[in-house]
């Protein structure tokens, strides 16, 4: 597959080059060369020790190039995707099907700010893309390089200085068809000074055919900018997702990312923050509800590059069945980053003896005047608490679910929209096997 992917790049390089200047093309070429040299990561890589990509690589995926004629054998209609939306919130909507933008299902804008697909922006907004694209991803691993080389469609957002988006953005990535498929999606989000945006993202397979999406996101936040990003990962048992998101933050900017992983075959999340100027604050929350043979992996990395920055991280995991979890939280406090505040917590419940979680905090601190704390726990459901609830008439299954929801609570507490909360409640209730979820998060 490595060779097919590389061949696909070389075959289409001229198409990619046609929409960008030489700098961007050069970044693509360097990226594909690195991918060719390194190949897909294996468990011998420190970062992939507990996350074996082999399971995902073994499928015989169809590869589509954005320059192939579009195959609309099975066009989707709004009614097909409606149930995957957070409906009660009025949103901009950017929809992708098998990695390609669907204008038909989307509702984009260019008035005052841009919310659209990267595919339509390469040429039109080349002057914005050129200084940003690939600038945060150079040093990252082979999957990211592959994505950089083949990047075409994905969310493109640019918000000028001082502008707050009037409504959130829903970015939806669907896969369909009866062939196994491998997609690359690439997002670029550029927020000016004091700009504000909110993104709700969902990857969703509409088929039982195997699928793998390899997503890369770059986010640039100007001074004072604010962003809230909610990633909903509630996909089919046939769907794999590898996603690497990098957020670069200038002075006093605030970023919050929620990653809510409730279903899917194989989830590998990388989330990196570069706190480049003083006063920047990054908050990240995660929830993994895994069972069966699911794998849910969260790798996070915060680089405290400047003084007076804050990072706050709280990830929760519940592992049932034969599922596996991985948490790796890196915090690098660089030499100049005095007065850093860094908090990291990862708590896990292992509900079955065949389930497992590998959790590892990794702190490297080169400044001396900092406050850093980290902790991780792995435990079981509290039997005393379970008995307490049952003795009050709450059935065992509900009592377990209630305790799990309570455990998960602070991973989702900061999500403000009642309708998004309600949606999460439903997803979580469904996952825990509780109908009519009688209690709120």
């Amino acid at each position: 597959m490595k060779d097919r992917l590389a061949a696909s790049y070389w075959l289409h390089e001229s198409h990619f080059a046609a929409v960008s200047n030489a700098l961007v093309t050069d970044r693509r070429r360097k990226a594909i060369e690195r991918f060719e040299a390194e190949g897909f990561p294996t468990v011998r890589h420190e970062d992939w020790k507990y996350t074996n990509l082999k399971k995902v690589l073994k499928e015989d995926y169809a590869l589509y190039s954005p320059f192939d004629a579009q195959d609309d054998a099975e066009p989707l209609e709004f009614k097909d995707i409606k149930r995957f939306l957070v409906n009660d919130i009025d949103c901009y909507r950017v929809v992708f099907i098998n990695g390609r933008y669907s204008s038909w299902l989307s509702e984009t804008t260019h008035s005052g700010f841009d919310v659209c697909t990267l595919g339509s922006a390469w040429k039109k907004y080349a002057h914005h893309i050129e200084p940003h694209f690939g600038q945060l991803t150079e040093d990252l691993g082979a999957l990211v390089q592959l994505n950089t080389a083949l990047a075409w469609d994905g969310l493109y957002v640019r918000v000028p200085n001082g502008v707050t988006l009037d409504k959130p953005i829903q970015a939806l990535y669907f896969t369909t068809g009866d062939q196994p498929i491998f997609n690359q999606t690439r997002s670029l989000i550029i927020l000016g000074e004091n700009a504000q945006a909110e993104i709700i993202e969902r990857h969703q397979s509409l088929t039982t055919a195997q699928s793998w999406t390899n997503a890369v996101d770059e986010v640039f936040m100007g001074a004072g900018a604010r962003m809230h990003w909610v990633k909903l990962q509630h996909d089919e048992a046939s769907a794999a997702l590898t996603q690497h998101s990098v957020v670069h933050q200038k002075q006093d900017s605030h970023a919050t990312v929620h990653t809510i992983s409730t279903d899917g075959k194989f989830l590998r999340n990388n989330l990196d923050f570069k706190l480049a100027e003083s006063g920047a604050e990054a908050r990240m929350f995660g929830l993994s509800l895994a069972d069966g043979k699911q794998l849910m992996d969260h790798h996070t990395r915060v680089d405290h590059l400047a003084p007076h920055c804050t990072s706050h991280e709280n990830y929760k995991g519940l592992f049932d069945g034969e599922s596996n979890g991985v948490f790796n939280g890196q915090i690098h406090v660089h030499v100049d980053a005095q007065k850093t505040l860094a908090f990291q917590q990862n708590d896990n419940l292992v509900l079955n003896e065949k389930a497992a979680i590998d959790t590892k905090p990794q702190l490297e601190i080169f400044a001396d005047d900092v406050k850093c704390s980290h902790g991780c726990t792995v435990g079981q459901l509290n039997e005393d608490a379970l008995f307490y609830l049952r003795a009050r008439g709450i059935k065992e299954k509900e009592a377990r679910a209630l305790l799990m929801v309570a455990f998960a609570h602070d991973a989702v507490a900061d999500i403000q929209h009642p309708s998004l909360q309600a949606k999460l409640n439903r997803l979580i209730g469904k996952k825990l096997g509780v109908k009519n979820f009688g209690f709120a998060l």
Partner: protein, 249 residues
């Protein structure tokens, strides 16, 4: 109401209850006294259905039917309530959510419609007033960071909401100051009727000044070794347990 017949229970092969016989009728209040480690909490946990204990002999009948095979929640649905000696802290579950869930589960089990939000709130208010509780209490996480007294008051609040047939109060008075004790006792007395019964586990006569028992039992080393009326409690207060231990020896 409840009939405990020659009840033996053990943990890890070690016998803790060694032949309890006790019958409680509707409208009655029984005080259960006895030194630490004699098996009072074990008895209440076994009645409530805790699975850690193995019942090696005997039976528990509730309204004539054995409940030994019933899950804790099924016993609760029949109207059993245990006020825990050590209520568990459950972060992330608010008191109001918990009570709502519990009460509606009870109603569901009895084939009743769930209580609508305003009736629920009204009922909560009423019971909280009775127990002189602060309104902010409802939104707090269940027992998390509660003082000893608040935890116990919360247990009685739950009892008042669930209106059980048989309530077992396991040292609900321990750690309460005299005002809190009076409030808790008022809560119990407000619920007392000819329809329900209470088992009050306590070390102290002072609670029994407020909740006057019909019977007083002494549990020692897994057995009820003495029963009497309320004067027995007074005698225990004065003389301790040594004389009973000697009588047994």
């Amino acid at each position: 109401m409840i009939e405990i017949v020659n009840l033996h229970a053990s943990v890890d092969g070690q016998a803790i209850l060694k032949g309890i016989n006790l019958t409680m009728g509707a409208g009655e209040v029984h005080a259960m006294m006895g030194p630490n480690g004699s098996g009072k909490s074990t008895l209440s946990n076994v009645i409530a259905g805790r699975e850690d204990y193995e019942i090696t002999k005997g039976d528990i009948l509730f309204n004539g039917e054995s409940i030994l095979e019933l899950a804790p929640e099924e016993r609760a649905h029949l109207g059993l309530f245990l006020s825990f000696q050590y209520p568990v802290e459950i972060p992330g579950v608010s008191v109001s959510n918990f009570i709502k869930t519990a009460l509606n589960e009870m109603r569901k089990a009895r084939g009743e419609e769930p209580l609508d939000a305003s009736s629920m709130l009204k009922k909560m208010r009423e019971k909280m007033d009775l127990l002189e509780m602060d309104k902010g209490f409802l939104s707090r996480s269940l027992n998390e960071g509660f003082s000893g007294g608040e935890k116990k008051r919360n247990e009685i609040f739950q009892m008042a909401m669930l209106e059980p047939k048989l309530a077992i109060l396991d040292e609900t008075d321990s750690g309460l100051d005299i005002d809190a004790l009076r409030i808790v006792a008022n809560g119990v007395n407000a619920l007392r009727s000819s329809e329900n019964a209470f088992m009050v586990i306590t070390h102290y006569q002072r609670l029994l000044d407020y909740i006057v028992p019909d019977y007083v039992h002494v549990l020692l080393n897994g057995k009820i070794v003495k029963s009497g009326d309320k004067s027995l409690a007074l005698e225990l207060e004065e003389r301790g347990y040594d004389w009973i231990k000697k009588e047994q020896a």
